[in-house]
Amino acid sequence: MARIAFYLWLGFSFTFGMPCALAVDEQSVLAALTLNFARFTTWPEASSQPLNVCVIGDNVVQEAFMPLQGVDVNGRAVSVNNMSRLTNLTSCQVLFIHDLKRNVMAQVFQELKDSPVLTVGNGLDILDNGGMIGLDNEGGKVVIHIDLNQVNRSRLKISSRLLQLAVIRENDK
């Protein structure tokens, strides 16, 4: 259903050759992308425990992640956790950060050090402060930026299929 609507809508956009203002809520797209990233990521230790997807953000961000609850990711069920307190961050497998102050963000990554936690956030600030995947809004569409150094240090493996779709950062800092 969604797919049919999506292609129809895409087709119309091209047909009419004009920017369509009707669009999808940004947070929901970021949540759906984050779920896909988890599918393309291999953690160093195999586990059948729930996959903890932790969210730092307001109720809008939290709500966008709700549909992920219980979804299967390579044999693990997603458990969505809201992290209003910024504690026990190493219990997460995936950490999504929305609009955190720069200095606090830097400390979050300091705390995670090289733990195998896939860190995703909106915008590119997250990469400058030690995060792995930044989702930038460029002209109304999402562009994925990945800092491979951060990924490798945490012993996570991201599938090349995903890397092909992303802008890769490999500068040594």
């Binding site: 609507a5 956009s13 999808v24 940004e26 947070q27 504690t87």
Partner: protein, 669 residues
């Protein structure tokens, strides 16, 4: 309408979903591949209608977008966007701004901060609004907190706290030039330039100026209240290390204010008006250092110096203020978020007396010490929070004051927030209330019998060193929900119980040379109560059409006999805004406001001045022909050619606010 092309393919999707919403619900997005997701056009347009504030207080956030689309050209006018705010224009340069009652030019229960710097003046324990300005394009947001904020912010945050927060300088890179002309806004311009100074440091400088036209009196005569102002400033932010950030910012301004002063006289005709030109200059510099220890712990130290010199026909004053503030926040045991801090403020003033106002002593230096502690406890994981705290401070006017508060926030579901609070707040005495003497009225001689005439009686309000702080005990409850798609509702109810509220008692009657001086001494005899509720709604009707509406109700319950001495704010206020963007490059904004009748206190009228209710309308149209350029046309107060919003407590004549139009251009480069 280009939009229609977008709608057609969605018709059946909408039928399938049964509601208008985004193209598809979030859980169906999960079926799309990464490639497909990267092709989706995203929007965060509905965010305002979905976001819930997590504060256990009546908070309303005015965003940069809101300010721009309101057409407001100054801070007080922008504050009209918030529910429960009582903003009234007195004349071209003067405002009365309050929240939850007791409004006036010299209103004294609202604390206003600009980037952490208090705009409070001890002179009358309030804000000179004509001296507060920022580059509006650089404002990130204005947080309007109705209700007491004394626990964190200290004395004088009785009926509310306003935090004006400008953007970090990394977000104001490049140039911005704005300017315009109009009938009331005769000419205005602003230039800002921001740049990176090095790898870790960014900064900006700005300069702005404006000239405003005079208004009119009810009889149609011009009110000679034109106003001009120039202001410049800078801000530098630097990440000196991974853990440390420093900020340095400052402003400097000069303003000329025309006004007609209405003053009492000791000789016939016992009252007079004259054209006056007031001047004010001032500046400030703020330095802040923040050190982040961990995600849950940081401390910051801030110091600022603020100075102003203001001179008009009523008084001339110089005031310097030095403020130091330290705060430390830390989390412990996963359940507690503790913040504590200490503060020190030194203020020195010099007041030149006139025949209308005398201060004894003419110069005074005061100190103010404070400490606070607050703990936010998570009682139930991500569901229930309890916050307990208190401020303790000492000031040279009323000694020790304490301001505890207890707040509870319950989030039963991510679409609902319920909160309740009980707090005590204190409004400390002003310099005028302790040391001032105001000559405000003369009763002309009365013929008692043929050949026998009483002398004129001059009325003076006399400050009183025994005048104590006013106290408030406030009870508040609130509920916020985004239960209905694309609609957010915020409801607050409050009951305010004041004590030691300012009153006057009859003082000495002194025989002077040719007249009698009747003194009225300030005292703390009143205990008014106010109660009411505020509703705010944001409805994202379509993704290009939003409605913002708010309604506030305020009942003022005064002691018998106190009504002419205490102003009564409008009981009902309605604000309705429509924000329409029919095309990507076009905005149409409409803003309709209704304000109920009000009573103000008046030196010339012992019964107070009644302000009639009014309805007013603002319209704005904006067009962005190329990226970075915006042209807009704004009409303000369009319904009537002029209307009365307020009458100042003394010194000015009732001035009506004129209808106005202006055209504006903003160019970002």
């Amino acid at each position: 309408m280009t939009r229609l092309g977008c709608w057609l393919p969605l018709v059946f999707a909408v039928f399938a979903q049964g509601v208008y919403a985004d193209a598809y619900p979030a859980d169906e997005l999960l079926d799309l591949s990464v490639e497909e997701l990267l092709n989706v056009k995203i929007t965060s347009v509905a965010k305002k209608a979905q976001a819930l504030n997590d504060a256990a207080a009546a908070v309303f956030v005015i965003t940069q977008e809101d300010i721009k689309r309101s057409g407001a050209t100054n801070i007080p006018d922008a504050l009209r966007l918030a529910p429960g705010m009582d903003v009234a224009k007195i004349d071209s340069s003067k405002w009365a701004v309050s929240s939850r009652g007791f409004n006036g030019r010299f209103a004294n229960k609202l604390l206003v901060l600009i980037d952490g710097r208090s705009t409070y003046t001890r002179t009358f324990s309030g804000v000179y609004w004509e001296m507060q300005d920022v580059m509006l394009e650089d404002v990130d947001r204005i947080e309007v907190i109705r209700g007491p904020g004394g626990t964190l912010w200290g004395a004088n945050a009785v009926n509310g706290v306003i935090n004006i927060i400008t953007k970090h300088s990394t977000r104001t890179q490049g140039g911005l030039l704005s300017g315009g002309i109009g009938s009331e806004e005769q000419g205005f311009g602003a230039l800002r330039y921001g740049a990176k100074l090095d790898e870790r440091t960014s900064g900006r400088v700005y300069f702005k100026g404006f000239k405003r036209d005079q208004n009119h009196f009810a009889n149609g005569r011009p009110s000679a209240d034109g106003w001009e102002k120039f202001q410049g400033g800078f801000r530098v932010d630097s990440n000196v290390s991974m853990q440390d950030e420093v900020k340095l910012q400052g402003d400097i301004y000069h303003t000329n204010i025309d006004e007609i002063l209405s003053t009492p006289q000791l000789a016939a005709p016992y009252a007079t008006t004259f054209n006056d030109r007031a001047h004010a200059d001032g500046g400030n510099i703020v330095a802040k250092w923040q050190h982040t220890l961990s995600p849950t712990s940081d401390y910051s130290a801030q110091v600022y110096f603020d100075t102003y010199h203001r001179e008009d026909g009523f008084l001339a004053e110089w005031r310097d203020q030095l403020d130091f503030d330290f705060q430390h926040r830390f989390g412990w045991s996963d359940r507690h978020d503790v913040v504590w801090g200490v503060g020190y403020r030194y203020t020195m003033d010099d007041i030149d007396s006139t025949q209308y106002f005398q201060a004894t002593p003419e110069s005074r230096n005061d100190q103010w010490y404070s400490a606070f502690l607050q703990d936010e406890m998570m009682l139930v994981e991500e569901k229930l929070w309890f916050t307990l705290g208190s401020k303790l401070e000492h000031n040279d006017y009323s000694g020790f004051e304490y301001q505890p508060s207890a707040r509870l926030l319950w989030a039963p579901h991510h679409q609902h927030r319920l909160w309740a609070a009980v707090s005590r707040a204190v409004r400390t005495p002003s310099r005028g209330e302790h040391n001032g003497k105001v000559f405000f009225r003369t009763f002309p001689p009365q013929t008692i019998a043929p050949g026998l005439t009483s002398p004129p009686v001059a009325l003076y309000t006399i400050g009183n060193a025994e005048f104590k702080a006013e106290h408030l005990l406030a009870y508040e409850i609130g509920y916020r929900t985004t239960m209905i798609d694309a609609l957010s509702l915020d409801m607050t109810a409050f009951y305010n119980d004041y004590d030691n509220f300012r009153s006057v008692m009859l003082g000495d009657l002194i025989t002077r040379n040719g007249y009698l001086e009747q003194q009225l001494v300030l005292s703390n005899a009143f205990s008014p109560k106010t109660y009411g509720f505020e509703l705010a709604a944001v409805w994202q009707m379509l993704d290009w059409w939003r409605w913002d509406a708010n309604y506030s109700y305020l009942a003022t319950d005064l002691d018998p006999g106190s009504s002419p001495l205490i102003p009564v704010s409008p009981q009902q206020r309605i604000s309705m805004r429509g924000l329409v963007s029919p095309r990507e490059d076009t905005d149409l904004d409409v803003w309709l406001r209704y304000v109920d009748s009000a009573m103000t206190i008046s030196a010339d009228n012992a019964n107070g001045e009644r302000i009639d209710s009014y309805v007013t309308l603002d319209l704005r149209a904006a067009w962005r022909p190329v990226p970075g350029l915006e042209l807009s046309l704004v009409g303000q107060n369009l319904i009537s050619s002029k209307h009365l919003e307020f009458v100042q407590e003394n010194l000015t004549l009732p001035t009506l606010v004129d209808r106005g139009m202006y055209a504006k251009m903003v160019w970002e480069f």
